[in-house]
């Protein structure tokens, strides 16, 4: 058996090593397929899997003699207790580690075979390091199996029951999950690191800031948190083992004998055999069904396994809920969908385990208890019994689920949340979980009936549960018709209820439920009634066992099922075809190969746009007519236009003086010849007639851009693409290599001066600049539709609402159209209308949002210049996407991203303020000034916006320690992001649209910069840049232009910061080694700090070089242990690696720190602060 496990794990690892389709935790980009990090990650993930195997080995070791009833013979031989006990234990331990050694073999074999066959690029493999394997064995495999083994071995010896041993396995998994849930909070990392019994999270913590180079070279080692964690849990294991050893005895315990209450009352009733009238008709079937159901249901409810699993679910659910719904240090309101998600995440797996486990129990129960022959010889139809078993499984699952819903509701009430939506809970259960349970119940019962014993049945069921999806993904099959219980998501949104997937989910559910019923019908026919017989014989004799009508029932059920399957197939494959991952990849590769020649095709610019949009929320249709003015801004004639339509749209293009000369339906690519050609400077009108018609339902949820309530799409989605579409191209370098494509630069290189590249911005790359937009948009009578600009007119026509919007100032050709049932809150600030469009359920934070917009406007107009729109709108949209985005004057904002966050106790900065300020800042940084299409452009939009947002926070709360708390997330974002970089990290001024750099690092750097050179100076530099380029169009600025404006604002002594922070990748390694104080005679205190500080330069892969330090860094003190009161901060020049600083202070602080406000990027910040000790 052990070799089978070893083989399976080895095989999985082999494929994970040599195939891109199989990923375990993911080894991507620059991390080698066989790097120490990858291997360790895989080992730790497989550790959890092999726990089940460990249960088998240790349970077997403990109970083998007992189960074979060999114990009485063995224990009477002169065998020593320690020899027996520890011999068995360590034997099992060794065996239990072997399957994981299979992972080593799989990886080595994969690496070696790949070096011969080159399935994937051999460059993605690193050198072999024996240390990685040894350390993994000693640090992960051995201690984890040891700890798990002690628990299981102890429990097995104590209770002598295989079921209890499996429960032991579950206890360990639950302990792991609970310790993992501590991880979510950045603050208690040390506790999380120590409490993880497997060390998996600990390793994740230790490596969270690892650069790709470190991941490729550093094996897990015997130091730090990981080492302590391992020591701790091995110690616990030893303790358990010893306790168990001392309570173990060869002697059997005397079984407890319950004294029966002997009743002396002899009954004197006489019993007469009644006249019996047995009947066998439909009613009999029903009564038999009830009786079967009752006995099966009771047997589950009363079983120990059920009770234990049930208790686990509750513990895990309550543990998860007790943490609340944290969001950047704030709590979300416990809205129903949050609880639904939490219930699903925590308990679905257990309910499925219960279904799988008890399907086996119920099917084999009669045989296990040797009552099968009696039951089988009674006059009932097997299907009745199967159906009753299935129903009892489903009922158990339902009752559990309902119970968890009750817990959820109690949780809501306890938190004072009174918008209880019982209907949402129940509907979600009906749409999502119930069909899943039914499908699994039916299938596992069929599997058990078909297999020749219970354990084979379990094995097959688990294969279906775990392996089937992997098989599908390897085969690149995307259809939910093959994914058991699969169907479109009915992910709930407060705004749009169960969303566009409901219709599809209904049909898919019907399909799966009928499939389960069919499975039960077959199980009923093939039920092994009587002596055990082979499946073949059962099929042969099935016809005798079932009544004639049964066959027609099967035929009819099959026919209905096939009908539904056909309908689903028609809808999901014919009406709404979709592409699987591999096909898309292939298409993308071929696209580039075929049409790459058009990469430099010259396109006209869109210089004016008028839209006529009709939104039909209930039908989920959109009709668009757009008149676009195209101008030839180039210096040559344009004789042809290239367009890519979207296949979801029915598009008609009306182009004057043109002829369609090319049409490729695969890519919906058309070329129109213009005669005469468009002369330089000449304009033409392109009319787009575009219709999005929703047909039937899709394999997945379908688009969420047009929904019943909360439609949100932007102009890019409703217009064809013009010119060459580089977005179609593959970007991942390894995938490109696979298709024989050259490496693709993410962005053109940063170039100084004014070049051709400066003629287009990074969003539209030359296809448009700042334009006027006019929109007439209509929607259903109960909804409000919003387009960019001021509302000119509003009217009703044909029971529809019409709105006419027009921009007040030329803006980027980038805007959203939205429609929903909105409440509107307004406020006027200096002639600007602040408007919040929100769902009426989400009214709590509206005042705060208005405040936030107002504050942003105030700071930005004071520091950067005027706001050019006449309105600033925040518009709620459903949580299908979780972000906020800035379009000219309008900012769509996801319901989950701020509308449900509890701000009741928040008086100062919070994430909603920050997000709103960020989006408002984009009205300047992106919408007034936008970078050229080259490296560094997002510095000017994203970093500037994030900085502007931080500055509004800073001015609001005026508390440096609160700002440190806020910046913590940005530091973390940057350091984690660079750890997961797939291609290369770039210095800030060359950022290639990398989020962790432009948001994370950019904001940290700019914030530190204003602290070093002054808020006013940084703002002035930004303002000057803005004034040079505001709404100007070509040429667009680059990050060089910012640096050009920044340099005059930075004193010479600090010029090095521009190089270190913008032009290079610089990290600091500061450490406060000692901090001692002594009381002076004058009543003052003298504090001496021993500080180590160094500066690190990193290259794009994370190779680090330490360089001499010659930098200004703050030192400071905290008066309290919580680091809330900063005291006597001063900026000191450090010019050597080790310095000793002595400061005289008036009062005695609690802690000392280098860089107390965490301005600098430091991978380990916690060692910067130390509590003061009295000098000896």
């Amino acid at each position: 058996m052990v070799y089978i496990f070893m083989f399976i794990l080895g095989l999985m690892e082999f494929f994970a090593t040599v195939s891109d389709n199989v990923q375990v935790g993911g080894a991507i980009g620059n991390v080698y397929r066989n790097s120490p990090y990858t291997l360790t990650l895989h080992i730790s993930i497989f550790s959890i899997f092999s726990l089940l195997m460990a249960v088998a080995f240790f349970n077997n070791a403990a109970l083998r003699d007992h189960n074979n009833e060999f114990n009485e013979i063995l224990f009477t031989t002169p065998l020593s207790k320690p020899g027996y006990y520890f011999g068995r234990f360590f034997g099992a331990l060794f065996i239990a580690t072997l399957p994981l050694v299979g992972v080593f073999i799989g990886m080595l074999l994969g690496t070696w075979m790949n070096s011969i066959f080159e399935w994937i690029d051999p460059e993605r493999f690193g050198p072999f390091q024996i240390k990685t394997f040894v350390n993994n064995y000693v640090l992960f495999i051995l201690p984890n199996m040891f700890l798990a083994g002690t628990v299981i071995f102890a429990m097995a010896n104590k209770w002598k029951s295989t079921v209890i041993s499996f429960v032991g396995g579950l206890v360990i998994i639950v302990a792991y999950i609970i310790s993992g849930s501590l991880m979510s909070d950045v603050d208690n990392e040390t506790i999380a690191g120590l409490s993880d019994i497997f060390g998996i999270n600990t390793y994740a913590l230790e490596t969270k800031y690892y650069t790709p180079v470190e991941k490729n070279t550093i094996s897990p080692g015997f130091s730090g948190l990981l080492f302590w964690n391992r020591l701790l849990w091995t110690g616990v294991g030893i303790l358990i083992l010893l306790l168990s050893y001392f309570s173990f005895s060869f002697k059997q315990k005397n079984k407890k004998v319950k004294k029966e209450n002997v009743s002396n009352q002899k009954s004197t009733t006489t019993f007469l055999l009644p006249k019996l009238t047995p009947s066998f008709n439909t009613n009999t079937n029903w009564i038999q069904f009830k009786s079967f159901f009752y006995t099966n249901f009771l047997s589950i409810i009363k079983s120990v396994t059920f009770k234990i699993l049930f208790l686990f679910c509750i513990i895990i659910l309550v543990a998860d809920l007790s943490g609340g719904f944290e969001y950047f240090g704030l709590q979300s309101y416990p809205v129903t969908y949050k609880l639904i998600d939490s219930i699903k995440d925590n308990t679905d797996i257990f309910i499925i385990i219960i279904v799988v486990f008890f399907s086996g129990e119920l099917i084999w129960r009669d045989r296990d208890y040797k009552i099968n022959e009696v039951i089988d010889a009674t006059a009932h139809t097997s299907f009745i019994s199967m159906a009753a078993k299935a129903l009892s499984l489903v009922s158990i699952a339902t009752i559990l689920n309902l119970f968890f819903i009750l817990i959820g509701i109690l949780y809501q009430l306890l938190n004072g949340f009174t918008r209880i939506e019982l209907d949402v809970y129940l509907l979600d259960f009906l749409y999502d979980n119930l069909p899943l349970f039914i499908a699994f119940g039916g299938i596992t019962i069929l599997v058990q009936v078909l297999s020749s014993n219970k354990y084979i049945g379990y094995f097959v069921a688990i294969l279906i549960l775990l392996v089937w999806e992997i098989v599908l993904s390897i085969m690149d099959v995307g259809s939910n018709m093959l994914d058991i219980g699969g169907g479109p998501s009915v992910f709930y949104s407060d705004m749009n209820r169960f969303g566009p997937g409901v219709k599809g989910a209904f049909w898919f559910n019907l399909y799966w439920i009928l499939f389960a019923v069919l499975g039960l019908l077959i199980a009923g026919a093939l039920w092994n009634r009587g002596t055990k017989d082979s499946l073949y014989n059962r099929i042969k004799t099935a016809r005798k066992e079932v009544p004639k009508s049964y066959r027609s029932v099967i035929v009819i059920a099959t026919a209905i099922w096939l009908g539904i399957a056909g309908f689903v197939y028609y809808n999901t494959q014919v009406l709404n075809p979709y592409y699987t991952g591999d096909t898309l990849e292939e298409l993308a590769a071929n696209y580039e190969k075929t049409y790459g020649k058009y990469r430099d095709v010259v396109t006209p610019k869109i210089t004016d746009a008028k839209y006529y949009i009709d939104i039909f929320p209930n039908k989920r249709d959109i009709h668009v007519k757009a008149d676009l003015e195209l101008t030839n801004a180039s210096e040559s004639n344009i004789d042809s236009l290239h367009f890519y339509m979207s296949e979801d749209w029915d598009t008609k293009l009306i182009i004057p003086n043109s002829k369609e000369v090319f049409n490729d339906s695969t890519y919906d690519f058309k070329i129109f010849k213009l005669s005469p050609p468009l002369q330089p400077g000449e304009k033409m009108i392109l009319t787009v007639d575009n219709k999005f018609i929703t047909k039937g339902f899709e394999n997945n949820r379908g688009t969420t851009m047009i929904v019943k309530n909360g439609t949100f799409f932007n102009n890019g989605a409703i217009l064809p693409t013009m010119g060459y579409n580089s977005d179609y191209e593959l970007s991942d370098k390894n995938i490109r290599k696979k298709h024989g494509l050259p490496e693709k630069e993410r962005m053109p290189e940063l170039t100084p001066g004014v070049t051709d590249l400066h003629m287009g911005n990074y969003i539209f790359n030359g296809q448009s600049d700042f334009i006027n937009v006019e929109t007439i948009v209509s929607t259903s009578a109960d909804q409000t539709a919003i387009a960019p600009g001021s509302l000119i007119k509003k009217w009703e026509e044909n029971e529809r609402n019409y709105f006419h919007y027009k921009t007040d100032t030329p803006s980027l050709n980038f805007y959203s159209f939205m429609s929903a049932k909105y409440e509107i809150a307004t406020r006027n600030w200096n002639g600007i209308d602040i408007e919040i469009y929100y769902d009426k359920k989400h009214n709590v934070n509206i005042e705060m949002m208005l405040d936030a917009v107002e504050r942003s406007l105030k700071y930005f107009t004071e520091n950067f210049g005027p706001y050019y729109h006449k309105q600033a709108r925040i518009i709620e949209f459903p949580r299908y996407r979780n972000f906020a985005q800035a379009f000219p004057g309008t900012m769509p904002y996801a319901e989950s991203f701020g509308f449900i966050i509890d701000l009741e106790d928040e008086t100062e900065n919070n994430v909603i303020d920050a997000v709103i300020a960020h989006e408002m800042a984009h009205q300047y940084w992106a919408h007034q000034l936008i970078g050229a299409y080259m490296q560094g452009s997002t510095l000017l939009s994203e970093s500037f916006s994030e900085y502007s947002s931080l500055m509004t926070m800073k001015n609001l709360n005026n508390d440096p320690m609160k700002m440190r708390e806020f910046l913590k997330y940005n530091h973390d974002r940057y350091l984690r992001g660079r750890s997961g970089e797939r291609l290369k990290e770039l210095p800030l001024y060359k950022v290639e649209n990398q989020g962790y750099i432009h948001y994370g690092k950019g904001s940290v750097i700019l914030y530190a910069l204003q602290d070093y050179v002054g808020e006013q100076n940084v703002n002035t530099a930004m303002k000057n840049l803005l004034e040079e380029y505001r709404y100007k169009g070509t040429p667009y600025p680059s990050s060089y232009d910012f640096i050009r404006h920044l340099e005059p604002e930075v004193p010479d002594s600090l010029r090095y910061l521009i190089t270190d922070w913008f032009k290079e990748i610089t990290l600091y390694d500061n450490r406060l080694k000692e901090a001692n104080y002594k009381a002076l005679a004058n009543g003052k205190y003298e504090v001496t700090m021993e500080i180590e500080s160094s500066k690190i330069k990193a290259d794009s892969l994370g190779n680090e070089t330490r360089v001499a330090i010659n930098d200004w860094i703050d030192i400071g003190f905290f008066m309290d242990s919580d680091e809330e009161v900063l005291y006597n901060e001063q900026r000191v020049k450090f010019d050597r690696a080790k310095s000793s600083i002595t400061v005289q202070l008036d009062s005695l602080p609690y802690k000392a720190a280098i860089d107390p406000r965490h301005l600098l990027i430091d991978r380990v910040y916690s060692d910067n602060i130390k509590a003061l000790s009295l000098e000896d």
């Binding site: 319950k258 009743s263 002899k266 009954s267 009733t269 019993f271 007469l272 055999l273 009644p274 006249k275 019996l276 009238t277 047995p278 009947s279 066998f280 009613n283 009999t284 009564i287 038999q288 009830k290 009786s291 079967f292 009752y294 006995t295 009771l298 047997s299 009363k302 129960r365 208890y369 040797k370 009552i371 022959e373 009696v374 039951i375 089988d376 010889a377 009674t378 006059a379 009932h380 139809t381 009634r529 009587g530 002596t531 017989d533 014989n537 004799t541 005798k544 066992e545 009544p547």
Partner: protein, 294 residues
């Protein structure tokens, strides 16, 4: 009056063992004893009649019902107590019997209640009706098994080794019960205890190696052996010699010495004395045709 006609029933297991070899029997109401050593095919025959096992060839008819091809019909008139009878844990005797009564078509709730109480009383378990069956002793469980076999109005009751694990008192009680119901229906009682058959059955068959080696009434069988059975106490070391020289039916130890029974048409002299044959002699003479020491 029901009739059970079994004709040429054969069954060979995949491992080559012939469990039923051309079995032909005809039974009418009353107790029918099926004797045979372990492995003779008794249980196979009974399971086949209880619709729990397929036969390779032959037929079995209970009146008009084709047992082999109409299992559902057969089960409606069947009471069956298998050799191994277990019970569900965590369920009381009353619950279990009620469940089985439902499965046997007793759909009337009142009838069911009265029936279950009646049977519980008959098997002397009424006092324990609300106790979990799991805690019952082997004998008590067996009594539950007997009770369930009697549920409904079976025309055919098959009981496989029913008295195993019962103490003598319980056994008597059981036989009285069986004799009670056996008047009006066919009861097939399989056993390897010869006395059971003698006491209860009007008809019997002896099976060995899948074949029916005798069918008739116990009395006739014994009469056939009249004045043909002789016994002698011999010493252990001469046992082999006797086995060679005489048709030994059986040997058993009496006071530490083997007592042999031999079959002979004439008086074998040599210290043998004639005995009145009993059913045991019949049994052994039928199955021990090769006259080896058993």
């Amino acid at each position: 009056m029901s009739t059970l006609k079994i004709s040429n029933l054969s069954k060979t297991y995949p491992n080559g063992v012939k469990a039923l070899d051309n079995v032909t029997l005809e039974l009418e109401n009353g107790m029918f004893g099926l004797l045979g050593p372990n492995g003779a095919g008794k249980s196979s025959l009974m399971r086949t009649l209880a619709t729990l096992q397929e036969a390779d060839s032959g037929s079995a008819f209970l009146d008009e019902i084709d047992i082999l091809n109409q299992p559902a019909e057969t089960r409606k008139v069947l009471g069956y107590l298998p050799q191994e009878f277990g019970v569900y844990p965590r369920i009381t005797a009353q619950q279990l019997l009620t469940h089985i009564a439902v499965l046997k078509g007793i759909t009337n709730k009142k009838e069911r209640k009265l029936l279950v109480d009646y049977l519980l009383d008959k098997v002397n378990l009424y006092e324990k009706r609300n106790k979990s069956v799991k805690g019952f002793s082997g004998g008590m469980k067996q009594r539950v098994g007997i009770a369930q076999a009697l549920i409904g109005n079976p025309k055919l009751i098959i009981v496989d080794e029913p008295t195993a694990g019962l103490d003598p008192g319980e056994r008597n009680r059981f036989y009285n019960l069986l004799a009670d119901v056996g008047k009006d229906v066919i009861v097939i009682l399989s056993t390897h205890i010869v006395d059971d058959v003698r006491e209860l059955c009007t008809n019997m068959a002896i099976m060995n190696l899948g074949e029916i080696v005798y069918q008739g009434s116990p009395q006739n069988a014994i009469e056939e052996l009249n004045s043909k059975v002789y016994q002698k106490i011999v010493s252990r070391d001469t046992l082999q010699q006797y086995a060679k020289d005489y048709k030994i039916i059986s040997n058993k130890m009496v006071g530490g010495q083997p007592l042999i029974h031999v079959f002979s048409d004439d008086h074998p002299q040599n210290g043998f004395e004639q005995v009145t044959p009993n059913l045991e002699d019949v049994f052994f003479s039928k199955i021990n045709t090769s006259n080896v020491l058993v």
